[in-house]
Amino acid sequence: MTASPVSVVALLRAALEAEQAASYGYGVVGSHLPQSSAQQGAATTDWITHLRAADYLTALIQARGGTPAPAAVAYQLPVPVQTAAQARVLAAALEERVAQAYLALVAVPEPALRSYGAGQVRAAALRAEAWRGSTEPFPGLPAASLRG
């Protein structure tokens, strides 16, 4: 399978959107965690990680002749957040979405992009584990793609 440049850019744009949504979401996460707590510090660290990843993806898209979409003003949150516990659930959900977007990049046969995507799936899964306190057998992989 050979992915066309257009489809690769589309996958990169999807990953960028997931990163932008995560950056927005971590703002919500951090605001619901105890002030100056270790968890709020972790949320800040993860927020910066997603901002940097978005910058990197923007550069990748531009290098391939694509146009990166700007971040939206607000994003629909996958879960409602009113408590610290819900904020942690949101953080894990954001990471799962990011993992899904990067796992799509792993389908690209280009070795560098495939490796980059896999590394990002792993990083997102590790962050999700830290927020959730538990592990998932198939991070980023839709249940429909599993057999049996």
Binding site: R114, A125, E129, P139, S145
Partner: protein, 214 residues
């Protein structure tokens, strides 16, 4: 060439010249080589494609991982890891052992799921089906309650930490190996490998946290 044309090899006539013999041998050589190659091709099946070999290796590694976890569960429960009915408070040493056993059992279940998905991607022709390897059902028989009530002192705690530490190392190695094998795999298989690699990486901090619980 006239000399060669005159040579028949019939009895009584002059035998073939040395030049004719050499020319004949040279002409028949490619035919012989082709024939030999054909026989060889029939005798030796082609090696499996790289993705098949990589997948088979991943299955074997996952089988080994499931077996490793079964062994770890036996070691942890033999050391009084469950806390058991007569164990101490949830936060005490026995409680920590129970947490470790629960974590190892949970991670083992994920490896069983990994193995099932990997196996579902590999279809053996009936004649080539190899031995099934360690049985998941068999390795699943390590019951967390087997060693309930055993001592849970300092030695047990050290032993528990060692068991978990070895599992953490194995997980990190497995995750790195899978990610290093992505190049050239079919897209769907590469995605499965990457997802499993991510899962196995998360087992490292998860097990570490289980080992640190007191």
């Amino acid at each position: 060439m006239l000399e060669d044309a005159e040579v028949t090899g019939d009895g009584g006539s002059p035998g073939p010249s040395r030049r004719a013999l050499l020319a004949g041998a040279a002409a028949s050589l490619p035919l012989l080589l082709t024939a030999c190659k054909g026989v060889q091709a029939l005798g030796t099946p082609p090696p499996p494609a790289r993705d098949i070999r990589v997948l088979a290796a991943a299955i074997a590694a996952e089988e080994a991982m499931v077996a490793r976890y079964a062994t770890a569960l036996r070691q942890l429960t033999a050391g009084g890891g469950t806390g058991g009915a007569g164990g101490g408070a949830a936060g005490g040493p026995a409680g920590a052992g129970a947490a470790a056993v629960a974590a190892v059992a949970a991670v083992r279940a994920e490896h069983v799921a990994h193995l099932a998905q990997l196996r579902s991607r590999l279809i053996h022709p009936p004649a080539l089906t190899s031995s099934p390897g360690p049985s998941v059902a068999a390795t699943a028989s390590a019951s967390p309650s087997a060693g309930a009530g055993a001592g849970a002192g300092t030695g047990a705690r050290a032993s528990r930490k060692l068991v978990l530490s070895e599992l953490e190392q194995a997980e990190q190695t497995a995750s790195d190996r899978l990610i290093g094998q992505l190049d050239g795999l079919p897209p769907a298989l590469a995605q499965l490998f990457a997802s499993i690699a991510a899962s196995e990486a998360t087992h490292v901090p998860y097990l570490r946290a289980a080992g640190q619980s007191r």
